[in-house]
Amino acid sequence: MNFPIKKLFALVLLSSLFTLISANDNEQKLQAFGANDLPKPNQKSLVFIFDGTGSMTKDLEQLRTAAKQILNELSLREDNPIFNYILVIFRDPGMLSKPPIKSN
């Protein structure tokens, strides 16, 4: 039986090191290319972060009006520069919410 002990040991050592060190938010994003579901090189996310507290009703209407026009225009383009849309609503402490993640 061919048992790669060295490799296993290295993996165990590495994974324990990894758990020790990775406990921070310091994520670095490596770029990935190739799959069909991935964004094209120049595409971006369009992120809206919206204050959902009481005084913002009219602000929301304003955003919706603009978003409707902008999204319409973007969809008419051959190459949509936007890969995906992210909406985050923030409110009072304890009420941070985001819509569930949905794919195409």
Partner: protein, 341 residues
């Protein structure tokens, strides 16, 4: 989060506006959440009428901006009456770090402002220069238009904004304008290649962003050794090491050459210090052509503080290329990256 715009519109229609009461809100947590899911080189807009209760999340959020190279703009319709304090100033700091701006306006202006700045969503849109002025007054700023640029845009956020634009022949040029009490946007099609100047003034501290639509697409990345492809690089250099900075060009036919990068060190000036606006020292590593699409520096010592990268070169017609290619950047401690073969 979705790739379907109709779903976004549906969500926007279903937003539950509730609560309120106390003024500062958890806006930075909201921003952080959005940035976590964004792909690289994205654009974010924060809408609020309050300062941030959670401004202590500045560092973590700044790091997310830098690791994703996302531009963040704030559309604010209020400030809890504490504009000069940390809760609101965190918006200015994060906008600045990301080459974005804080736009102050009335609620009724939101639609028009978003429409006026929608050119930023273009995949061809690039930031040329970012200028932040800590006090009221007038400044003259220069920037270079090259032949890859089909449109120029400038936005000045500050009270009583004024901008006077001159082309390379020193002629005053007017473009399409959008004006509010605290915002002025000027757009111009087919700007002549060469050195342009804009004289900008405001009665308060203000920010100026010069951008363009350009067919020349540039990416950058740091690595410890000369890379053979962009996937071997990261947006944040490693602390305590000498790093190679590489520039990746999609369409090299548009270029004559790329000569160097300028590392513009940034200091945030606290209001108590009496000094002129940050960005003082410069470091200018030369670029060497490694392959058809890649130019790289020799490994060099990365500054301790934040910096921005400016690219220097010439386009295929010999016009000067000088443009910003990054948000603010800061070196980070290495974390273990495991490759699964």
């Amino acid at each position: 989060m979705t790739t379907n715009p109709d779903l976004l519109m549906e969500r926007l229609s279903n937003v539950n506006i509730t609560g309120g009461g106390d003024c500062p809100e958890l806006s930075i947590s909201g921003l952080r959440e959005g940035l976590k899911h964004a792909i690289t080189n994205s654009i974010a807009f924060v809408f609020t009428d309050a300062s941030a209760k959670d401004h202590d999340q500045y560092e973590v959020t700044k790091n997310l901006i830098q690791s994703t190279q996302t531009t963040v703009n704030f559309l604010t319709t209020g400030d809890c009456g504490e504009r000069s304090r940390a809760g609101f100033q965190v918006y200015e700091k994060l906008a600045r770090v990301s080459n974005g701006q804080v736009f102050d306006m009335n609620t009724d202006d939101i639609t028009n402002v978003l429409l006026a700045i929608r050119f930023m969503l273009n995949d061809d849109f690039i930031a040329l220069r970012s200028i932040d002025v800590e006090k009221s007054g007038t400044s003259e700023n220069a920037f270079f238009i090259d032949s890859t640029m089909s449109e120029l845009s400038m936005s000045l956020s500050g009270s009583a904004p004024e901008m006077a634009l001159k082309n390379p022949k020193n002629e005053t040029v007017t473009g399409e304008e959008f004006n509010l009490a605290k915002l002025k946007i000027v757009q111009l099609k087919t700007p002549m290649p060469g050195k342009w100047t804009v004289e900008a003034s405001s009665s308060t501290a203000h920010s100026i962003r010069v951008g363009a639509i350009s067919s020349l697409k540039i990416e950058f990345g740091f690595s410890l050794e000369t890379p053979s492809k962009i996937e071997e690089t990261l947006y944040q250099p490693l602390k305590g090491k000498m790093n190679v900075l590489s520039v990746f060009v999609r369409d090299p036919a548009l270029l004559k050459s790329l000569s160097s990068v300028t590392i513009i060190k940034i200091d945030f000036i606290s209001k108590r210090k009496r000094r002129d606006t940050g960005s003082v020292e410069q470091l200018i590593p030369a670029l060497k052509k490694i392959s058809e699409h890649i130019y790289a520096t020799e490994a060099f010592v990365i500054p301790e503080q934040m910096f921005k990268i400016q690219l220097n070169g010439a386009d295929s017609l010999g016009n000067i290329i000088e443009r910003s290619i990054s948000t603010s950047i800061q070196s980070v401690l290495p974390s273990i990256i495991i490759n699964c073969d």
